[in-house]
Amino acid sequence: MIIFKILHTLKKLNVGRRPGMNLSEFQRREFQPEATSRRAFILRAAGFLTTLFLFPVIVRAAKKTRTVPLEDPWQTLAVVQEHLFPSETDSPGAKEISALEYLRNVTKDPAIDSGEKEFILNGVTWLNNLSLERHKVVFTSLSQSQRTSMLHEITKSKAGRNWISKLLSYILEALLSDPVYGGNPNGIGWKWLKHHPGFPRPPVNKLYWDLLKI
């Protein structure tokens, strides 16, 4: 039954329609919880690190500033983000829009499903395992072209595609959400895309997770 449902979900990536509403036409397309397993990410890989094992690392890393070298999973995530959304002379990249800081906030966000957070972090492990298998080094030690081909390789799997898609989504949130959420410093993303935010803008005590307490 469950397998049937999964297959059925995959068949329909069509978009929703909500006249008068802006609700995410992208949302349904993005939502592929079934594609968050390691098996779907890569078919063969050695080693498996559970999220439980990852969490202490995250907590330690989160306390550090960028002047100290990042620990994984953040180091890998930063490199992947910068690969997906590079800094260029005429436009901000992941670094300038504070995409990593934004993503750290996402992992603390009570409104985001724990499965989604685990998936993002597990993806780092799977990516590094694949990198070790192919090149004997972790992803961050690969050359630019090796990184490109590895990311393209994982998009051939559903979970891999889903993982990159989610990372891109959070990069875009860092680019275009209100700076109060930790990305888009000084509206750098808005300026680049000539976007005018609506007003009133959310103050620091009215972030959306504060609304959950009402």
Partner: protein, 561 residues
């Protein structure tokens, strides 16, 4: 009988607000039970993340969901819980309901919408039925909504203009974008009748609320100025001022209990802590979203209502309606229109406010006899930069793009053009394949069976939707838009839902009588969109407001007022 309240209302949206206000103004004690939280203007910011993250304005789908049944394409049906598909059928679960987040495109129905069956004749496999009331019965209440909720607009003569008892709207239209004038000129040259779309948005400070502040972020966002005519701002706040109305947020009603005579005696609900609570009242009014109203009735069986409350003839949940039609749009590329237009297109904050009802009825020889068509609304793309940016990460073949090509696509999308969209609204014909039942397996976080919604559509809906889509595209083409597209499918818009408890004179074919009182429950009324036997070809909110005011007057009479 000595009860806690004279009237207990389940739900707090467009169907509930008019009842709460009318009854409390008449001096009756009213309690409103709302399962969501109670936000005010002080909680509403133009925050796209708040608007789109599950769990903020709508429940987390793991806690509360639906099961959707779709055609498998081979004559059967296949079902899927929305926690698996991500296809969210909620919108605005909080005090005031989804009216907090509407765009407020307000159109009245036309007189012929009240008797579709006798005017246009039957359509095979469609359960068409005339309404038991006429436009004349509802007209005074449409007018009342204009002044009490606050509808701004300007009456323009056109071939399908419905009769009005007043010359014009109480407030002039909200400020309009330069695009609107350009649109008018083109449409007039095409022999069409461009209409200023009436909006449930105040264009001036009045009725104790502030005017629109023109941030340009309206649909999907809560209104920080109070200008938007949500049930909360326009009706529940004044109801509270009477001192006779109490609102209980985080009160999830799971059952209406009936006595041995079949009367409702109590609403049972879970409070925020998950503890069961109970309210008794003389009259119970259910208005908690068409799908949920049917679900609550079906969940409320009792000694005289073995198949569910008001369901002795098996009609509850049947003939559910969505809004048929589609969406589309086109791009105005700054480099390809004259520089003045290009400059004006970049202007933010003002409304397009334009619609066409030239094809509300179709007199086209290719269609044979005169038929029902619909409404087209034109608007700028809703402000959701993150959502729009996310759409750019897929190329035309559905592959992910990133790096420099992706950034180029983003830059181009945001800075070289403005997208104008259209939304078409047509009748969703009632059929045996669109209904609500209780799921036998999936339950919500309180352990109550969730609504199982079969969403079959009638092929005629697609035909009308496509017809209007072509007409809309033709307008955009004439205006010089590029990349024009339209998308018409049988996929329902979850934010426009009605039916399930149709009103009518025959208890065998309807749930409610013409006063929207249950045929077989003397103290139960339903005042959300559930009552509609057919939905018309406009967004439902104005009609829901108007009918709820009408029924509220009947309830006042029922109580002896």
């Amino acid at each position: 009988m000595n009860t806690d309240f004279d009237v207990c209302i389940v739900g707090s949206g467009a169907g509930a607000g008019p009842v709460a206000l009318t009854l409390s103004e008449a001096g009756y004690s009213v309690v409103v039970l709302e399962k969501g939280p109670w936000f005010t203007e002080k909680d509403f910011y133009k925050d796209e993340l708040a608007s789109n993250r599950q769990g903020v304005y709508t429940p987390n789908l793991n806690d509360e969901q639906h099961v959707i049944e779709e055609s498998d394409g081979h004559g059967g049906w296949t079902s899927e819980p929305t926690s698996v598909s991500g296809w969210d059928f909620w919108r605005g679960c909080c005090v005031g309901g989804s009216s907090n987040f509407m765009s407020g495109f307000f159109y009245r129905l036309k007189p012929d919408d009240f008797h579709l069956l006798s005017t246009f004749g039957p359509i095979d496999n469609a359960n068409l039925a005339d309404w038991p009331i006429s436009y004349d019965n509802l007209e005074p209440y449409y007018t009342k909504v204009e002044s009490v909720v606050g509808v701004s607009g300007r009456v323009v003569q056109h071939p399908h203009l419905e009769p009005r008892s007043t010359m014009n709207f109480p407030s002039s239209p909200t400020l309009e974008h330069p695009f609107s004038e350009w649109f008018d000129t083109t449409c007039q040259e095409m022999g069409l009748h461009p209409l200023p779309t009436p909006r449930a948005i105040l264009s001036r400070n009045t009725i104790k609320r502030r005017s629109c502040e023109y941030s340009g972020w309206c649909g999907s966002y809560g209104c920080a100025s109070g200008a938007k005519g949500s049930a909360r701002a326009a009706l529940l706040n004044p109801a509270l001022e009477t001192g006779s109305c109490e609102i209980r947020p985080h009160a999830k009603v799971y059952k209406l209990t009936t006595n041995s005579q079949g009367k409702v005696v109590a609403a049972e609900y879970y409070d925020r802590a998950g503890k069961p609570q109970k309210v008794d009242a003389n009259i119970f009014v259910v208005a908690c979203l068409a799908t949920e109203t049917s679900r609550l009735l079906l969940s409320s069986s009792g000694p005289r209502h073995e198949k569910g409350l008001a369901n002795n003839t098996g009609q509850v949940g049947k003939n559910l309606l969505f809004s048929a039609g589609g969406i589309g749009g086109g791009d105005f590329v700054y480099d390809k229109v004259d520089s003045l237009k290009a400059r004006s297109l970049k202007h933010q904050g003002l409304f397009v406010n334009r619609g066409l009802q030239d094809w509300y009825f179709i007199d086209d020889s290719a269609w044979g006899k005169r038929q029902k068509g619909g409404t087209i609304d034109f608007l700028f793309e809703h402000p959701r930069p993150i959502g729009k940016a996310k759409e750019q990460k897929w190329d035309d073949d559905g592959n992910l793009i990133w790096g420099t090509p992706f950034k180029k696509a983003l830059k181009s999308y945001f800075t070289t053009k403005r997208r104008v969209k259209f939304e078409t609204f047509c009748d969703w014909l009632p059929t045996d394949n669109c209904f609500v039942s209780l799921d036998t397996q999936v339950k919500d976080k309180w352990g109550t069976p969730v609504a199982r919604i079969r969403i079959g559509y009638h092929p005629h809906d697609i035909k009308v939707g496509k017809y209007l889509g072509e007409k809309s595209k033709n307008v955009l083409r004439t205006m010089g838009a590029e990349n024009i597209y339209s998308n018409v499918s049988g996929s329902p818009p979850p934010n426009l839902v009605a039916g399930g408890c149709r009103f009518g004179k025959d208890p065998k074919k309807s749930v409610l009588d013409p006063d929207c009182r249950a045929h077989d429950v003397e103290n139960l009324y339903v005042t959300d969109g559930s009552f509609m036997p057919t939905g018309g070809s406009v967004p439902y909110t104005w009609t829901i407001y108007a009918n709820a005011f009408r029924v509220a007057d009947k309830i006042v009479k029922h109580l002896g007022g």
